[in-house]
Amino acid sequence: MTTASTNPFQSLFTMPQPAFAVDFDELRRKLAAMPRVMDLAGKVRVGATPRDVIYREDKLQVLRYESDVPKKHRTPLLLVFALVNRPYILDLLPHKSVVQQFLRAGFDVFLIDWGVPSESDKHLTLEDYIETYMHNVVCRVCEFSGMDRLSLLGYCMGGTMSAMYTALHPERVKNFILMAAPVDWSDREALLAVWTDTKWFDVDKVVDTFGNAPPQWLQGSFAMLKPVANLIEKYLNFYERIEDERFLEEFFAMETWVNDNIPVAGETFRQFVKDCFQKNLLIQDKLRIGRSTVRLAEITCPVLNLMASGDHLVPCGQSASFNDHVGSADRKSITFPAGHIGLSVGSRAQKELWPSVCEWLAARSDSTKSRTAGPGGKGTAKKKLARAQGPSRVGS
């Protein structure tokens, strides 16, 4: 802090002037790069890993990813992302793809694409998403793979919903990975938690007026959480690295996703904000989904809790206590130095985090041995279900 006797503005005039001189050569080079920039912007391809749609229900689709790598694990892996954005963030680019990481490790990877809700979907509740859609998807994936249980990875709000599903249907989930997912809103430090406080935010008015939560409003709110980074630094960085084609590819892919917000079904949004953000019912075992109460202690499968230390959207405090509330004997937490999205697409996460996650999951998945799992394959389903009833005792 400045002392009363120092004129802070004086230092502006003593700074080296060349520091602020415009480098015209650099400017000319960057302008000359513009045609190439426009060309790359038009060619960006996201979510490019080949896949098939194996199930459809209303607007939802389940994708099964294809790979030349032989399957080493019979336990299928289902990825569940949030309702707020498109799920291809998990398969953004070939070198920034969580899907590819699991495929290379020999997993059979499925993903729920929730689709884009329309006005007619505004009545959908959390119960519809969890007890109807997710349950149907899980049953379909298990049937497709010939297994009774699957591994579930939930990211962000998708992780919260996956936690609710696993607590309600523990017999269906063999392993559970929670990724940057809020479950405990007692930590009110995050800016989003401040903004959604009942004193400042009336979710009923928003839902009653708009029906679904509008995507532009959601996108604007997320951008305003870090206004300097999102509105100034991002474009300065773009200018500085405009000649780097690799950077441009990643920048445009990321921008495609960031600007691809979708509406959230009104009643789901209302319930999520009220019951989770404002009343924090989930961690207290008081959240009702339909006729059932969600109790995290019902989760007894192996649990891996991934958190990002630099996450401004879901601070670690909103995820960390999950492991203390589940009934699993085998539970592990990893706090990785990354942001909310960097946890999946960051270069360091791709190099260091995801290989170890794949190892963790591989140790807890059924291997293919001599039989290869294929579509419609039948395993010894009843025996596996009978064995799977008790809690896991595998050490982490």
């Binding site: 120092t6 401040v194 009336d202 007026t209 870090k226 300097v228």
Partner: protein, 165 residues
């Protein structure tokens, strides 16, 4: 002290800019032209960090939150008025309005819920009936096995009965 606090609260902008420039000056003591690029980067970094912190503090402050709530209330009110106007326009033209479609979809939704609830109840009844039948046929099979084991003689084998399907 009270006056100092009042003037700080009254002039948050002045405090921010003063602090920011002081940090920038302190970050670059006697920098020469050869390190001017590095100095500029440092100054930029310091400026953005200070600005980000200021924005974060401001967006948590009561004046901002009240302004956010007011502007949201006004936007919602405006939207509602526009919707009401458009609804009246449609009604005047005897064409279906958004409210009518919303009411219809709400009605379909409640019909769907009622039908699904009835189906759930029927499914539970069927499961209960099947369970009782399985228990009864299991009891019958057990009784016939006991008779056979007491040396009732050979007959057509019906000992493969198991509960369930």
């Amino acid at each position: 002290m009270a006056d100092n606090n009042k003037s700080k609260a009254a002039d948050p902008f002045g405090e921010f800019w003063g602090d920011m420039f002081a940090r920038m000056g302190a970050a670059m003591p006697g920098a020469d032209s050869s390190s001017s690029q590095v100095a500029a980067k440092q100054a930029q970094r310091t400026f953005f960090d200070a600005l980000a912190k200021y924005c974060d503090d401001y967006m948590r402050s009561k004046p901002f939150l009240e302004m956010m709530r007011r502007s949201m209330d006004q936007s919602l009110q405006f939207k509602q008025q526009v919707d009401q106007f458009l609804t009246q326009l449609h009604r005047g033209a005897q064409s279906p309005a958004k409210d009518d479609v919303d009411d219809l979809s709400g009605l379909l939704r409640s019909i769907e819920q009622r039908v699904l609830s009835r189906l759930d109840a029927l499914e539970r009844k069927v499961a209960a009936v099947e369970g009782r039948r399985a228990a009864a046929s299991g009891a019958k099979a057990g009784a016939s096995r006991r008779r056979a084991s007491r040396g009732a003689g050979r007959g057509p084998s019906k000992n493969k009965a198991r509960g369930g399907r």
